[in-house]
Amino acid sequence: MKEYLLGKIADLPEGKGRAFVAGNKTVAVFRSNGKIYAVANRCIHKGASLCDGVLSNDGKVLRCPWHNWPFDLETGGHCLDPSERLRTYQVKIDGDAAILCV
C-alpha cells in the first residue's frame, strides 16, 4: 500500500465528489459530515464516473450519476444488495491534510 497526498481538507468541497489519480488507480473522493471517503471512481454497473455522483440520505449514500445505483459511502456496498460492492480506500488525516492509501 502506498500513501498519496490528496491535499488540504479545506480544499475538498463538502458534499461533492472529486476524482484523483493515485498510481494506476482513479479514485472518487467525497467529504461528507466531516469525514473523507474514497471509492473506486468507476461504477460497477456500467462504468460511470462516480465522482459526478450525488450524495443522499444525509450524506451517507452515493448515487451513481448514470443509473442511480445507491452505494453506502462507508462500506462501498450497494444499499439493496451489499454483494455488489465498490472498492473503498482508506483516507488518513494528517493535520489539515488528507492522505489516500491505495
Binding site: A19, F20, G34, N41, S49, H67, K92, D94
Partner: protein, 386 residues
C-alpha cells in the same frame, strides 16, 4: 472518523486531481451511430410551429396518460424522464454527441407519447409541428443529425399524409411509432396506408416503447411500480407487435420494409423465433383469414416466421442486459443473432440511458468486428439514407 497520522506529509507524492471522461477512449476511435436519442424542444417552440386552431388552444403538451417517472426524476421536480438533461436545439444535440463520442444520431421525439392521446387531429398537429421545427431549425445545424419523423399512427391516413408531406427530406431516415399505446398491433392491415407511404420513401419503421402504460391491458392497469410498468411491460408488448407483423403478413406484402424495435428488450428473441416457427408448423390455418392473405388469395406465409426477423427486423440495444456469467452473455448474444440484428442506442437523456462503453468493454463476448457492426455497421445497412 478517518484515522489520523502525524508523520508529516510534505514528502508524499501528490494524487492528481482530474476530470475523468467516463466514455471509453476506444469509443472515440470508432464510428458510433446512436439510433435512439430523444430530442425535446420547449413546448413553446413546438407551439410556434402548430397550425391553428391548435396553436391557440394547446398551451401545454396534452399529456394523454398518467405521468410516471423513474426514482431519480422524483428528486428533480420538473425534469420528467429527462434525468440526464434536455436537448432543445441542434447545437444542444451536437454538444451531447461530442460528449458521448457519437458521430451520427437518429433523433426520436422527446414528446414521445402522442399515440397515447385520444384525439387524432391533435396528434397529427403536434407531429407536423415537430417535423417542421426539425426541418427549419435543427437539420441545418449539422448533417450528423438525422431523425425519425413523427406521425399520427392512430389514424393511418393522417400518418400517411404526413409522411408524404415531409418524407422527401433526406435527414429523415425513419418513421417514429410506438408499440405500447396502440389498440391494434402495428402488424395489423389497417396501418397499410402508412406502410404504402413509407415504401415510397424507403423509410425504416421505428417501433419504440411509448407511454409506459399499455393502456389496453388490464394486467398493466393493475401494476403499481416503475419496475412493472417500464421494466417488464415493453418486452411483452414488443413480442406481441412483432408477432403480429409476421403472421398477419406485413412483411409478405412489404418485403423491403425494415423495422427497428426500441426499448423492448432482446432476451426473448430466441424464444419468439422458435415458438413462432413451432406454432406455424402445427397451427397455421387461420393465417389464411387475415386481411392481407385474404386480399392476396394466399393461405400461408412466404417464409418461416423466424426468417422475417432475420431479414426485416433490427433491435436497438438500450437497455442492454448483460448476464454476469461470461458464457451466458456470449450465448445470449449468439442466440439473438446480435452481430447482425443489434444497432447501438443510448436513449439519452432517459434514466436508463446506456453509453456505448459496454460494446467495447466485453471483447470476450463481442469481438472487434462485431463491435463495429453494433456501433455503426448494422445501422448503416438498416437505414438507406445514412
Amino acid at each position: 472518523m478517518n484515522e489520523s497520522r502525524h508523520t508529516g506529509y510534505a514528502e508524499l507524492e501528490r494524487a492528481e486531481a482530474i476530470k475523468p471522461d467516463p466514455i471509453d477512449p476506444r469509443i472515440r476511435t470508432m464510428e458510433v451511430i446512436d439510433t435512439d436519442f430523444h430530442f425535446t424542444p420547449p413546448w413553446d417552440t413546438i407551439r410556434g410551429y402548430l397550425k391553428e386552431p391548435f396553436k391557440s388552444l394547446l398551451f401545454h403538451f396534452p399529456v394523454g396518460g398518467l405521468e410516471y417517472n423513474p426514482e431519480p426524476a422524483n428528486e428533480k421536480p420538473g425534469v420528467g424522464q429527462d434525468t440526464h438533461g434536455t436537448a432543445a436545439t441542434g447545437a444542444d444535440v451536437i454538444a451531447i454527441l461530442d460528449q458521448f463520442g457519437t458521430d451520427i444520431v437518429v433523433l426520436n421525439p422527446g414528446y414521445n407519447r402522442p399515440q397515447s392521446i385520444f384525439n387524432e387531429p391533435v396528434i397529427a398537429a403536434i407531429a407536423a409541428a415537430h417535423n417542421d421545427y426539425l426541418i427549419e431549425e435543427v437539420f441545418p445545424v449539422s448533417d450528423r443529425i438525422k431523425a425519425n419523423l413523427m406521425i399520427c399512427h392512430r389514424d393511418p391516413q393522417m400518418g400517411a399524409d404526413e409522411i408524404r408531406r415531409v418524407g422527401h427530406h433526406r435527414q429523415f431516415v425513419g418513421v417514429y411509432s410506438s408499440f405500447s399505446s396502440l389498440y391494434e398491433p402495428l402488424g395489423n392491415a389497417k396501418y397499410d396506408p402508412i406502410l404504402d407511404a413509407m415504401r415510397d420513401f424507403d423509410l425504416v419503421l421505428t417501433a419504440h416503447s411509448e407511454g409506459f402504460f399499455p393502456h389496453f391491458s388490464p394486467l398493466w392497469t393493475g401494476a403499481r411500480t416503475w419496475i412493472e410498468l417500464f421494466g417488464n411491460a415493453p418486452a411483452g408488448n414488443a413480442m406481441a407487435h412483432l408477432a403480429a407483423m409476421i403472421v398477419q403478413g406485413m412483411f409478405d406484402k412489404y418485403p423491403a420494409q425494415k423495422v427497428i424495435f426500441q426499448e423492448g428488450g432482446y432476451w426473448w428473441i430466441p424464444d419468439l423465433m422458435l415458438r413462432l416457427d413451432d406454432f406455424y408448423l402445427g397451427a397455421a390455418g387461420d393465417i389464411a383469414l387475415v386481411e392481407r392473405k385474404l386480399a392476396a388469395g394466399e393461405r400461408k406465409l412466404h417464409k418461416m416466421p423466424s426468417q422475417y426477423i432475420l431479414d426485416n427486423v433490427r433491435f436497438s440495444t438500450q437497455p442492454i442486459t448483460m448476464p454476469k456469467n461470461r458464457k451466458h452473455f456470449a450465448w445470449l448474444l449468439e442466440l439473438c443473432h446480435a452481430a447482425d440484428l443489434f444497432c447501438f442506442s443510448s436513449d439519452w437523456p432517459h434514466q436508463t440511458m446506456d453509453p456505448a462503453n459496454w460494446v467495447v468493454e466485453n471483447p470476450d463476448c463481442i469481438p472487434e468486428d462485431m463491435q463495429r457492426k453494433l456501433l455503426s455497421g448494422n445501422a448503416r445497412k438498416l437505414y438507406a439514407r445514412l
